[in-house]
Subunit: 145 residues, 3 copies
Amino acid sequence: MRLTHNFLKIETGEGICIYNITPQIQELVEKHGIRQGNVTVISQHTTTALTINEAEERLLEDIKTYLKKLAPPEDRYLHNDLHLRDVPEDEPINAHSHLMAMTMGTTETIPILNGKLALGTWQSVLLLELDGPRTRKVLVQFWGE
Amino acid sequence: MRLTHNFLKIETGEGICIYNITPQIQELVEKHGIRQGNVTVISQHTTTALTINEAEERLLEDIKTYLKKLAPPEDRYLHNDLHLRDVPEDEPINAHSHLMAMTMGTTETIPILNGKLALGTWQSVLLLELDGPRTRKVLVQFWGE
Amino acid sequence: MRLTHNFLKIETGEGICIYNITPQIQELVEKHGIRQGNVTVISQHTTTALTINEAEERLLEDIKTYLKKLAPPEDRYLHNDLHLRDVPEDEPINAHSHLMAMTMGTTETIPILNGKLALGTWQSVLLLELDGPRTRKVLVQFWGE
Protein backbone atom coordinates (compact mmCIF):
# COMPACT_ATOMS: atom_id res chain seq x y z
CA MET A 1 0.00 0.00 0.00
CA ARG A 2 1.34 3.37 -0.97
CA LEU A 3 0.38 6.87 0.14
CA THR A 4 1.27 9.84 -2.01
CA HIS A 5 -0.12 13.22 -2.98
CA ASN A 6 -0.06 16.07 -5.46
CA PHE A 7 -1.26 19.63 -5.59
CA LEU A 8 -3.30 20.90 -8.50
CA LYS A 9 -2.81 24.60 -9.13
CA ILE A 10 -5.73 26.32 -10.82
CA GLU A 11 -5.96 29.90 -12.05
CA THR A 12 -9.63 30.77 -11.79
CA GLY A 13 -11.85 33.32 -13.51
CA GLU A 14 -14.04 36.15 -12.29
CA GLY A 15 -16.79 35.58 -9.69
CA ILE A 16 -18.28 32.08 -9.69
CA CYS A 17 -16.61 29.64 -12.10
CA ILE A 18 -16.72 25.87 -12.27
CA TYR A 19 -13.86 23.59 -13.33
CA ASN A 20 -13.98 19.89 -14.10
CA ILE A 21 -10.82 18.53 -12.47
CA THR A 22 -11.59 14.84 -13.08
CA PRO A 23 -9.09 14.44 -15.96
CA GLN A 24 -6.19 15.75 -13.85
CA ILE A 25 -7.05 13.43 -10.96
CA GLN A 26 -7.51 10.40 -13.22
CA GLU A 27 -4.17 11.13 -14.90
CA LEU A 28 -2.46 11.14 -11.50
CA VAL A 29 -4.13 7.83 -10.55
CA GLU A 30 -2.53 6.35 -13.66
CA LYS A 31 0.83 8.05 -13.13
CA HIS A 32 1.01 6.62 -9.59
CA GLY A 33 -0.08 3.21 -10.91
CA ILE A 34 -2.79 2.78 -8.30
CA ARG A 35 -5.16 -0.05 -9.22
CA GLN A 36 -7.19 -0.37 -5.99
CA GLY A 37 -7.45 2.33 -3.36
CA ASN A 38 -8.91 5.75 -2.99
CA VAL A 39 -8.29 9.44 -3.37
CA THR A 40 -9.13 12.25 -0.96
CA VAL A 41 -9.46 15.67 -2.55
CA ILE A 42 -9.49 18.90 -0.55
CA SER A 43 -9.62 22.43 -1.87
CA GLN A 44 -7.49 24.41 0.59
CA HIS A 45 -9.60 27.57 0.56
CA THR A 46 -12.66 28.94 2.34
CA THR A 47 -14.32 30.42 -0.75
CA THR A 48 -14.14 27.40 -3.06
CA ALA A 49 -15.99 24.10 -2.97
CA LEU A 50 -15.79 20.61 -4.42
CA THR A 51 -18.80 18.70 -5.63
CA ILE A 52 -19.43 15.60 -7.71
CA ASN A 53 -21.98 16.04 -10.47
CA GLU A 54 -22.50 16.37 -14.20
CA ALA A 55 -20.21 18.74 -16.12
CA GLU A 56 -22.97 19.80 -18.49
CA GLU A 57 -22.51 23.39 -19.63
CA ARG A 58 -26.07 24.59 -18.99
CA LEU A 59 -26.29 22.81 -15.65
CA LEU A 60 -23.10 24.61 -14.56
CA GLU A 61 -24.95 27.89 -15.18
CA ASP A 62 -27.90 26.61 -13.14
CA ILE A 63 -25.52 25.84 -10.27
CA LYS A 64 -24.31 29.45 -10.27
CA THR A 65 -27.89 30.79 -10.25
CA TYR A 66 -28.84 28.36 -7.48
CA LEU A 67 -25.92 29.34 -5.25
CA LYS A 68 -26.72 33.03 -5.70
CA LYS A 69 -30.29 32.33 -4.68
CA LEU A 70 -29.19 30.45 -1.55
CA ALA A 71 -26.65 33.05 -0.45
CA PRO A 72 -27.32 36.28 -2.39
CA PRO A 73 -24.09 38.31 -2.77
CA GLU A 74 -26.07 41.54 -2.26
CA ASP A 75 -27.52 40.49 1.11
CA ARG A 76 -26.23 42.04 4.30
CA TYR A 77 -23.57 39.95 6.09
CA LEU A 78 -21.63 40.79 9.26
CA HIS A 79 -18.43 39.34 7.77
CA ASN A 80 -18.56 42.06 5.12
CA ASP A 81 -18.22 44.92 7.66
CA LEU A 82 -14.51 45.25 6.99
CA HIS A 83 -14.26 48.37 9.17
CA LEU A 84 -15.19 46.27 12.20
CA ARG A 85 -12.57 43.61 11.46
CA ASP A 86 -8.79 43.68 11.69
CA VAL A 87 -8.15 43.17 7.96
CA PRO A 88 -6.35 44.93 5.09
CA GLU A 89 -8.38 47.52 3.18
CA ASP A 90 -8.45 45.37 0.06
CA GLU A 91 -10.01 42.39 1.88
CA PRO A 92 -12.69 40.93 -0.41
CA ILE A 93 -16.41 41.34 0.37
CA ASN A 94 -17.27 37.66 0.19
CA ALA A 95 -19.39 36.31 3.04
CA HIS A 96 -21.74 34.81 0.44
CA SER A 97 -18.82 32.85 -1.06
CA HIS A 98 -18.03 31.31 2.34
CA LEU A 99 -21.67 30.27 2.81
CA MET A 100 -21.85 28.75 -0.67
CA ALA A 101 -18.60 26.86 0.01
CA MET A 102 -19.95 25.32 3.23
CA THR A 103 -23.20 24.32 1.54
CA MET A 104 -21.39 22.41 -1.20
CA GLY A 105 -18.47 21.13 0.91
CA THR A 106 -14.72 21.28 0.35
CA THR A 107 -13.59 17.64 0.43
CA GLU A 108 -14.44 14.43 -1.41
CA THR A 109 -13.17 10.87 -0.98
CA ILE A 110 -13.54 8.66 -4.03
CA PRO A 111 -12.70 4.96 -4.39
CA ILE A 112 -10.32 3.78 -7.14
CA LEU A 113 -11.25 0.46 -8.76
CA ASN A 114 -9.09 -1.23 -11.42
CA GLY A 115 -7.04 1.91 -11.97
CA LYS A 116 -10.03 4.20 -12.47
CA LEU A 117 -11.83 6.72 -10.26
CA ALA A 118 -15.02 4.83 -9.37
CA LEU A 119 -17.40 7.52 -10.61
CA GLY A 120 -20.66 6.92 -12.44
CA THR A 121 -21.05 7.66 -16.16
CA TRP A 122 -22.21 11.25 -15.63
CA GLN A 123 -20.18 12.08 -12.54
CA SER A 124 -17.28 14.54 -12.56
CA VAL A 125 -15.32 16.15 -9.76
CA LEU A 126 -16.08 19.86 -9.99
CA LEU A 127 -14.09 22.64 -8.39
CA LEU A 128 -16.29 25.65 -7.65
CA GLU A 129 -14.53 28.98 -7.56
CA LEU A 130 -16.86 31.20 -5.53
CA ASP A 131 -14.81 34.39 -5.30
CA GLY A 132 -12.47 34.57 -8.27
CA PRO A 133 -10.19 35.34 -9.85
CA ARG A 134 -7.56 33.64 -7.70
CA THR A 135 -4.77 31.09 -7.77
CA ARG A 136 -6.18 28.01 -6.06
CA LYS A 137 -4.54 24.87 -4.67
CA VAL A 138 -6.32 21.54 -4.54
CA LEU A 139 -4.62 18.74 -2.60
CA VAL A 140 -5.14 15.26 -3.98
CA GLN A 141 -4.03 12.40 -1.70
CA PHE A 142 -3.80 8.92 -3.20
CA TRP A 143 -3.72 5.72 -1.27
CA GLY A 144 -3.69 2.18 -2.60
CA GLU A 145 -1.68 -0.42 -4.45
CA MET B 1 -5.21 -4.53 6.22
CA ARG B 2 -7.68 -5.53 3.56
CA LEU B 3 -9.40 -3.47 0.88
CA THR B 4 -12.58 -4.77 -0.71
CA HIS B 5 -15.84 -3.47 -2.10
CA ASN B 6 -19.41 -4.26 -3.05
CA PHE B 7 -22.15 -2.64 -5.07
CA LEU B 8 -25.62 -2.21 -3.64
CA LYS B 9 -28.31 -2.26 -6.32
CA ILE B 10 -31.46 -0.35 -5.41
CA GLU B 11 -34.70 -0.12 -7.37
CA THR B 12 -36.15 3.24 -6.43
CA GLY B 13 -39.65 4.69 -6.45
CA GLU B 14 -41.25 7.71 -8.10
CA GLY B 15 -39.83 11.21 -7.65
CA ILE B 16 -38.01 11.80 -4.37
CA CYS B 17 -37.67 8.70 -2.17
CA ILE B 18 -35.39 8.00 0.75
CA TYR B 19 -33.84 4.63 1.63
CA ASN B 20 -32.05 3.63 4.80
CA ILE B 21 -29.09 1.57 3.54
CA THR B 22 -27.38 1.19 6.93
CA PRO B 23 -28.43 -2.45 7.45
CA GLN B 24 -26.93 -3.54 4.11
CA ILE B 25 -23.64 -1.76 4.83
CA GLN B 26 -23.42 -3.13 8.39
CA GLU B 27 -24.12 -6.64 7.08
CA LEU B 28 -21.21 -6.32 4.65
CA VAL B 29 -18.90 -5.06 7.42
CA GLU B 30 -19.69 -8.29 9.28
CA LYS B 31 -19.41 -10.50 6.20
CA HIS B 32 -15.94 -9.09 5.46
CA GLY B 33 -14.99 -9.51 9.12
CA ILE B 34 -13.67 -5.98 9.45
CA ARG B 35 -13.19 -5.01 13.10
CA GLN B 36 -11.30 -1.72 12.74
CA GLY B 37 -11.24 0.39 9.59
CA ASN B 38 -13.61 2.45 7.56
CA VAL B 39 -16.06 2.42 4.72
CA THR B 40 -16.41 4.92 1.86
CA VAL B 41 -19.84 5.01 0.24
CA ILE B 42 -20.51 6.68 -3.11
CA SER B 43 -23.75 6.78 -5.03
CA GLN B 44 -22.67 6.66 -8.68
CA HIS B 45 -25.33 8.99 -10.02
CA THR B 46 -25.83 12.75 -10.46
CA THR B 47 -29.45 12.80 -9.30
CA THR B 48 -29.10 10.88 -6.03
CA ALA B 49 -27.47 11.86 -2.75
CA LEU B 50 -26.18 10.28 0.43
CA THR B 51 -26.67 11.81 3.84
CA ILE B 52 -26.34 10.66 7.43
CA ASN B 53 -29.31 11.45 9.64
CA GLU B 54 -32.33 10.02 11.43
CA ALA B 55 -34.54 7.57 9.53
CA GLU B 56 -37.71 8.85 11.17
CA GLU B 57 -40.70 8.57 8.85
CA ARG B 58 -42.04 12.09 9.30
CA LEU B 59 -38.59 13.66 9.12
CA LEU B 60 -38.06 11.90 5.78
CA GLU B 61 -41.14 13.77 4.51
CA ASP B 62 -39.73 17.03 5.86
CA ILE B 63 -36.51 16.39 3.91
CA LYS B 64 -38.50 16.06 0.68
CA THR B 65 -40.38 19.31 1.35
CA TYR B 66 -37.13 21.06 2.26
CA LEU B 67 -35.34 19.97 -0.90
CA LYS B 68 -38.27 21.10 -3.05
CA LYS B 69 -38.13 24.48 -1.36
CA LEU B 70 -34.39 24.82 -1.99
CA ALA B 71 -34.56 23.76 -5.64
CA PRO B 72 -38.19 23.94 -6.78
CA PRO B 73 -38.82 21.44 -9.62
CA GLU B 74 -41.12 23.96 -11.32
CA ASP B 75 -38.48 26.70 -11.50
CA ARG B 76 -36.83 27.58 -14.79
CA TYR B 77 -33.45 25.88 -15.33
CA LEU B 78 -31.19 26.06 -18.39
CA HIS B 79 -30.37 22.34 -18.08
CA ASN B 80 -34.03 21.60 -18.77
CA ASP B 81 -33.97 23.16 -22.26
CA LEU B 82 -33.59 19.79 -23.92
CA HIS B 83 -33.98 21.30 -27.40
CA LEU B 84 -30.75 23.24 -26.86
CA ARG B 85 -28.81 20.16 -25.77
CA ASP B 86 -27.59 17.12 -27.68
CA VAL B 87 -29.72 14.59 -25.81
CA PRO B 88 -32.36 11.94 -26.58
CA GLU B 89 -35.98 13.13 -26.63
CA ASP B 90 -36.81 11.16 -23.49
CA GLU B 91 -34.06 12.84 -21.44
CA PRO B 92 -35.52 13.62 -18.00
CA ILE B 93 -36.31 17.21 -16.94
CA ASN B 94 -34.32 17.13 -13.73
CA ALA B 95 -32.05 20.12 -13.11
CA HIS B 96 -33.61 20.46 -9.66
CA SER B 97 -32.55 16.87 -8.85
CA HIS B 98 -28.92 17.67 -9.70
CA LEU B 99 -28.98 20.76 -7.46
CA MET B 100 -30.52 18.82 -4.59
CA ALA B 101 -27.87 16.11 -5.02
CA MET B 102 -25.01 18.60 -4.80
CA THR B 103 -26.51 20.25 -1.73
CA MET B 104 -26.69 16.97 0.16
CA GLY B 105 -23.53 15.36 -1.27
CA THR B 106 -22.92 11.96 -2.86
CA THR B 107 -20.20 10.39 -0.75
CA GLU B 108 -19.69 9.53 2.92
CA THR B 109 -16.72 8.02 4.78
CA ILE B 110 -17.58 6.32 8.06
CA PRO B 111 -15.20 4.73 10.59
CA ILE B 112 -15.69 1.10 11.68
CA LEU B 113 -14.97 0.41 15.36
CA ASN B 114 -15.15 -3.08 16.89
CA GLY B 115 -16.94 -4.47 13.87
CA LYS B 116 -19.64 -1.82 13.80
CA LEU B 117 -20.23 1.31 11.71
CA ALA B 118 -19.32 4.07 14.17
CA LEU B 119 -22.60 5.93 13.89
CA GLY B 120 -24.46 7.60 16.74
CA THR B 121 -27.68 6.15 18.16
CA TRP B 122 -29.95 8.06 15.79
CA GLN B 123 -27.73 8.14 12.73
CA SER B 124 -28.47 6.16 9.57
CA VAL B 125 -26.95 6.27 6.10
CA LEU B 126 -29.73 7.49 3.82
CA LEU B 127 -29.80 7.19 0.04
CA LEU B 128 -31.86 9.98 -1.51
CA GLU B 129 -33.42 9.19 -4.85
CA LEU B 130 -34.10 12.61 -6.39
CA ASP B 131 -35.39 11.62 -9.82
CA GLY B 132 -36.92 8.16 -9.61
CA PRO B 133 -37.87 5.58 -10.48
CA ARG B 134 -34.49 4.17 -11.49
CA THR B 135 -32.09 1.32 -10.86
CA ARG B 136 -29.31 2.80 -8.75
CA LYS B 137 -25.84 1.55 -7.86
CA VAL B 138 -24.11 2.47 -4.62
CA LEU B 139 -20.43 1.54 -4.28
CA VAL B 140 -19.32 0.58 -0.78
CA GLN B 141 -15.57 0.30 -0.27
CA PHE B 142 -14.31 -1.33 2.92
CA TRP B 143 -10.85 -1.01 4.32
CA GLY B 144 -9.51 -2.38 7.58
CA GLU B 145 -8.57 -5.53 9.46
CA MET C 1 0.61 2.15 9.00
CA ARG C 2 -1.35 2.64 12.15
CA LEU C 3 -5.07 3.09 12.76
CA THR C 4 -6.29 4.68 15.97
CA HIS C 5 -9.05 6.93 17.19
CA ASN C 6 -10.26 9.27 19.91
CA PHE C 7 -13.52 10.83 20.96
CA LEU C 8 -13.80 14.54 21.58
CA LYS C 9 -16.45 15.41 24.14
CA ILE C 10 -17.94 18.86 23.77
CA GLU C 11 -20.43 20.60 26.07
CA THR C 12 -22.36 22.93 23.79
CA GLY C 13 -24.33 26.12 24.37
CA GLU C 14 -27.91 27.15 23.67
CA GLY C 15 -29.42 26.89 20.18
CA ILE C 16 -26.94 27.18 17.32
CA CYS C 17 -23.31 27.43 18.40
CA ILE C 18 -20.11 26.92 16.46
CA TYR C 19 -16.88 25.43 17.82
CA ASN C 20 -13.46 25.38 16.18
CA ILE C 21 -12.16 21.87 16.94
CA THR C 22 -9.02 22.12 14.78
CA PRO C 23 -6.62 22.58 17.72
CA GLN C 24 -7.85 19.39 19.44
CA ILE C 25 -7.52 17.36 16.25
CA GLN C 26 -4.05 18.75 15.44
CA GLU C 27 -2.93 17.99 18.99
CA LEU C 28 -4.01 14.36 18.57
CA VAL C 29 -2.18 14.10 15.23
CA GLU C 30 0.98 15.10 17.10
CA LYS C 31 0.30 12.87 20.08
CA HIS C 32 -0.12 9.85 17.77
CA GLY C 33 3.03 10.87 15.88
CA ILE C 34 1.37 10.61 12.48
CA ARG C 35 3.47 12.28 9.76
CA GLN C 36 1.64 11.14 6.61
CA GLY C 37 -1.92 9.86 6.56
CA ASN C 38 -5.39 11.18 7.12
CA VAL C 39 -8.09 11.76 9.65
CA THR C 40 -11.81 11.05 9.34
CA VAL C 41 -14.02 13.09 11.66
CA ILE C 42 -17.66 12.24 12.33
CA SER C 43 -20.03 13.98 14.70
CA GLN C 44 -22.21 11.17 16.05
CA HIS C 45 -25.44 13.14 16.19
CA THR C 46 -28.30 14.05 13.87
CA THR C 47 -28.59 17.69 14.96
CA THR C 48 -24.94 18.71 14.65
CA ALA C 49 -22.77 19.22 11.58
CA LEU C 50 -19.11 19.50 10.63
CA THR C 51 -17.83 21.97 8.09
CA ILE C 52 -14.45 23.32 7.05
CA ASN C 53 -14.28 27.09 6.78
CA GLU C 54 -12.97 30.27 8.38
CA ALA C 55 -13.37 30.66 12.14
CA GLU C 56 -13.97 34.39 11.89
CA GLU C 57 -16.30 35.64 14.61
CA ARG C 58 -18.64 37.67 12.40
CA LEU C 59 -18.77 34.99 9.71
CA LEU C 60 -19.85 32.49 12.38
CA GLU C 61 -22.84 34.75 13.06
CA ASP C 62 -23.57 34.89 9.33
CA ILE C 63 -23.60 31.08 9.23
CA LYS C 64 -26.26 30.99 11.96
CA THR C 65 -28.42 33.53 10.10
CA TYR C 66 -27.95 31.64 6.84
CA LEU C 67 -28.98 28.29 8.34
CA LYS C 68 -32.07 29.84 9.91
CA LYS C 69 -33.00 31.26 6.51
CA LEU C 70 -32.59 27.86 4.82
CA ALA C 71 -34.52 25.90 7.44
CA PRO C 72 -36.51 28.39 9.57
CA PRO C 73 -37.09 26.99 13.09
CA GLU C 74 -40.60 28.49 13.12
CA ASP C 75 -41.72 26.72 9.91
CA ARG C 76 -44.13 23.83 10.09
CA TYR C 77 -42.44 20.39 10.03
CA LEU C 78 -44.06 16.96 10.32
CA HIS C 79 -41.22 15.72 12.55
CA ASN C 80 -42.29 18.29 15.15
CA ASP C 81 -45.75 16.74 15.64
CA LEU C 82 -44.65 14.91 18.76
CA HIS C 83 -48.20 13.73 19.51
CA LEU C 84 -48.11 11.69 16.30
CA ARG C 85 -44.80 10.04 17.13
CA ASP C 86 -43.86 7.45 19.74
CA VAL C 87 -41.52 9.71 21.72
CA PRO C 88 -41.13 11.02 25.30
CA GLU C 89 -42.98 14.26 26.11
CA ASP C 90 -39.74 16.19 26.46
CA GLU C 91 -38.56 15.27 22.93
CA PRO C 92 -37.05 18.41 21.37
CA ILE C 93 -38.83 20.30 18.59
CA ASN C 94 -35.93 20.28 16.17
CA ALA C 95 -36.76 19.28 12.58
CA HIS C 96 -34.97 22.43 11.40
CA SER C 97 -31.79 21.28 13.18
CA HIS C 98 -31.86 17.96 11.31
CA LEU C 99 -32.27 19.75 7.97
CA MET C 100 -29.43 22.16 8.73
CA ALA C 101 -27.23 19.20 9.71
CA MET C 102 -27.84 17.40 6.42
CA THR C 103 -27.17 20.55 4.42
CA MET C 104 -23.77 21.06 6.03
CA GLY C 105 -22.83 17.37 6.43
CA THR C 106 -21.60 15.39 9.43
CA THR C 107 -18.27 13.92 8.31
CA GLU C 108 -14.98 15.22 6.93
CA THR C 109 -11.83 13.41 5.78
CA ILE C 110 -8.66 15.50 5.85
CA PRO C 111 -5.16 14.51 4.70
CA ILE C 112 -2.21 14.79 7.10
CA LEU C 113 1.07 15.96 5.51
CA ASN C 114 4.34 16.21 7.45
CA GLY C 115 2.57 15.91 10.77
CA LYS C 116 0.03 18.64 10.09
CA LEU C 117 -3.64 18.64 9.05
CA ALA C 118 -3.41 19.67 5.39
CA LEU C 119 -5.76 22.63 5.68
CA GLY C 120 -5.37 25.97 3.95
CA THR C 121 -4.36 29.11 5.83
CA TRP C 122 -7.94 30.16 6.62
CA GLN C 123 -9.50 26.72 7.01
CA SER C 124 -10.68 25.34 10.34
CA VAL C 125 -12.76 22.29 11.21
CA LEU C 126 -15.96 23.67 12.71
CA LEU C 127 -18.47 21.73 14.79
CA LEU C 128 -21.95 23.17 14.43
CA GLU C 129 -24.27 22.60 17.35
CA LEU C 130 -27.75 23.02 15.88
CA ASP C 131 -29.93 22.14 18.86
CA GLY C 132 -28.01 22.86 22.05
CA PRO C 133 -27.24 22.73 24.81
CA ARG C 134 -26.06 19.12 24.78
CA THR C 135 -23.08 16.90 25.46
CA ARG C 136 -21.72 15.95 22.05
CA LYS C 137 -19.28 13.27 20.92
CA VAL C 138 -17.07 13.67 17.87
CA LEU C 139 -15.16 10.60 16.69
CA VAL C 140 -11.75 11.29 15.18
CA GLN C 141 -10.11 8.37 13.39
CA PHE C 142 -6.43 8.65 12.48
CA TRP C 143 -4.64 6.56 9.95
CA GLY C 144 -1.06 6.85 8.76
CA GLU C 145 2.55 6.44 9.74
